[in-house]
Subunit: 347 residues, 2 copies
């Protein structure tokens, strides 16, 4: 790219010019009509989720390249689909841009989005580009799920095991390393890079759904095929504590979480005090793992199939309290709530 | 509403508080999961369209109440669905808000959206509310259409009649009356109100689709049922000239438009010079009528069923020129293009 092109601003080529430059990031079949048309499989429900991201509020050039901002935005929406048990059909991208934004910045944003989408076999199927005083990204993702496989927050029952599909705290650690480079002391380069990567390129866990359906398949054969799947869940985008509390509230149950069962990045052992490591995991957010509640026997088989990082972190209890328990009794029992995280990490 | 409540700002109750206040505007079944789940009929294609609207760019408190801004935003998206032949399944609403926006303003915005959606038997099925320095509204609408009934811009063929489903120019006239109240001279109150209403409360023409399918039903019975419907089209949200030119470009054809056949609001006869009336109709935009191209015989029957305002305004020709012809020869033949409208009315 020559310097003239790389310094070109949105106002130099206009919204129509920008649309033309971005067309190759989009599904070819969707261009040139009032709306996109998508084929859906028969007997599937449509799942829809939407996020708005604002420059300076949800992303920033300080910690995030445009490619990473794009990846993260796409990943967050795909994670919401995964949390419902749905496979993606596509996303629409609404973009508000000040005239002085560089065209290359927008192209890099779309590059990051499409890298993430391609990894999960989906694409941008529509959008809108408008002038705005502040860069704004509005993504709507849609997916499909068989009605019998919808994962809801409200389906947890007493006795369920609580499964997390991977380690927690890495994304927040990566963000802290970007904001405070001096924290890299005591970290090898590869450890630092891995944590930052966890923040910049989170992986929506669409990959765990086929494993989940396989595990559920054997017992369901003897159940009524129309019965609901015995799984509750959501993603941990707002933190592990938030996910567990939300599921408990929606299901009218409580939970007992075993402190030592929460999977953390190995590097935390020698890098962070235990209390801080726990807080990163519970309240850091943006790990985009799934938190799923299912019968103990199925949960054990599920975790075994998922491999490293996945764990049963506790169980669903009667009542409404989410209790954090340390079997080593180094920490007293604590009730988890939403606000603790906001006090520590809120803006 | 007492004065304390009416002056409450978004920052006083936070995004969570605002979400709770807005829940009653949304479909009850969608609240409390990572994404909304919608049922679709079998053998339907999914149609998706998205718009971003920014305060000061796309709406303004000068000409638009929050209710009207909400109505217009919903109507524009439903019109895009109608233009594809699709019936609505729901919309998602992404909202960026400065903290000092009044809660009552947001409630009135949602009131306007839901009034429009309810009229067309659909609803808000999901959303996101975030902080932003500028009020931003990102709407994504979903609809469904049988694959054989998808209306595309690219399907016009030489000889087709060009049908408009209603009068053009009223919305732009209404906007001018709001911006320049002195223009109301020579207008009765009811005439002025009707034009302003056309601007503030445009009607997406979802109502014409059942009529269209009925008209198409008889001949299609003797056709191959899998053959595509012989209809091309889009909506006239960006002006009648834009719609005709877009269809011609996408279809690789031209058009001959009869000046005197373009349906105008009756009041234009004594209120506007002929040339200006024509410009309002061709380039004013936001009338949200459908512009459809179909065989002459079907077009005649269709227009008859649609009633007042609907008209055949011309026909599809070979070549690539969109020619405006005045049979009274008061105006010379003119080639229509995109830029003329922008020169007259662009920002």
């Amino acid at each position: 790219m020559n310097s003239e092109l790389s310094s070109q601003q949105v106002q130099d080529i206009g919204e129509q010019g920008l649309l033309e430059r971005l067309q190759h990031f989009c599904s070819p079949e969707i261009i040139g009509d009032d709306a996109a048309v998508l084929e859906t499989a028969s007997e599937q429900s449509l799942v829809v989720t939407t996020d708005v991201l604002v420059d300076g509020v949800h992303f920033s050039n300080v910690t995030t390249s445009p490619e990473d901002a794009g990846w993260r935005a796409a990943a967050a929406n795909l994670s919401d689909l995964a949390a419902m048990g749905a496979s993606p059909l596509g996303i629409t991208v609404g973009l508000g841009l000040p005239g002085e934004v560089r065209v290359s910045w927008v192209e890099r944003l779309y590059q990051g989005m499409t890298e993430c989408l391609q990894k999960y076999n989906t694409s941008i199927v529509g959008g809108d580009i408008v002038r705005s005083p502040v860069t704004t990204l509005a993504i709507t993702a849609f997916g499909q799920v068989h009605p019998s496989q919808i994962i809801r927050r409200s389906a947890a029952v007493v006795g369920d095991a609580i499964v997390v599909t991977g380690v927690h705290g890495a994304s927040h650690a990566g963000l802290q390393l970007l904001l405070h480079p001096e924290l890299r002391q005591n970290l090898k380069d590869a450890e630092r890079t891995a944590l930052i990567r966890a923040h910049q390129r989170p992986q929506p866990r669409l990959d765990v759904l086929p494993i989940l359906w396989k595990i559920l398949d054997s017992p369901s054969k003897i159940q009524n095929p129309k019965s609901k799947i015995p799984v509750a869940g959501m993603d941990s985008s707002d933190g592990l504590a938030d996910a567990i509390i939300q599921i408990c509230r929606a299901s009218g149950v409580g939970a007992l979480i075993e402190h030592r069962q929460i999977p953390l990045p190995k590097v935390f052992d020698h890098w962070l005090p235990q209390e801080q490591a726990l807080e990163y995991a519970l309240y850091g957010g943006e790990d985009f793992e799934l938190v799923l509640c299912l019968p103990q026997e199925l949960a054990s088989a599920f975790v075994q199939h998922l491999g490293e990082g996945a764990a049963i972190v506790g169980s669903i209890t009667s009542g409404s309290t989410v209790l954090l328990h340390d079997e080593q009794k180094k920490f007293p029992d604590r009730v988890l709530n939403f606000s603790q995280g906001f006090q520590h990490f809120g803006q």
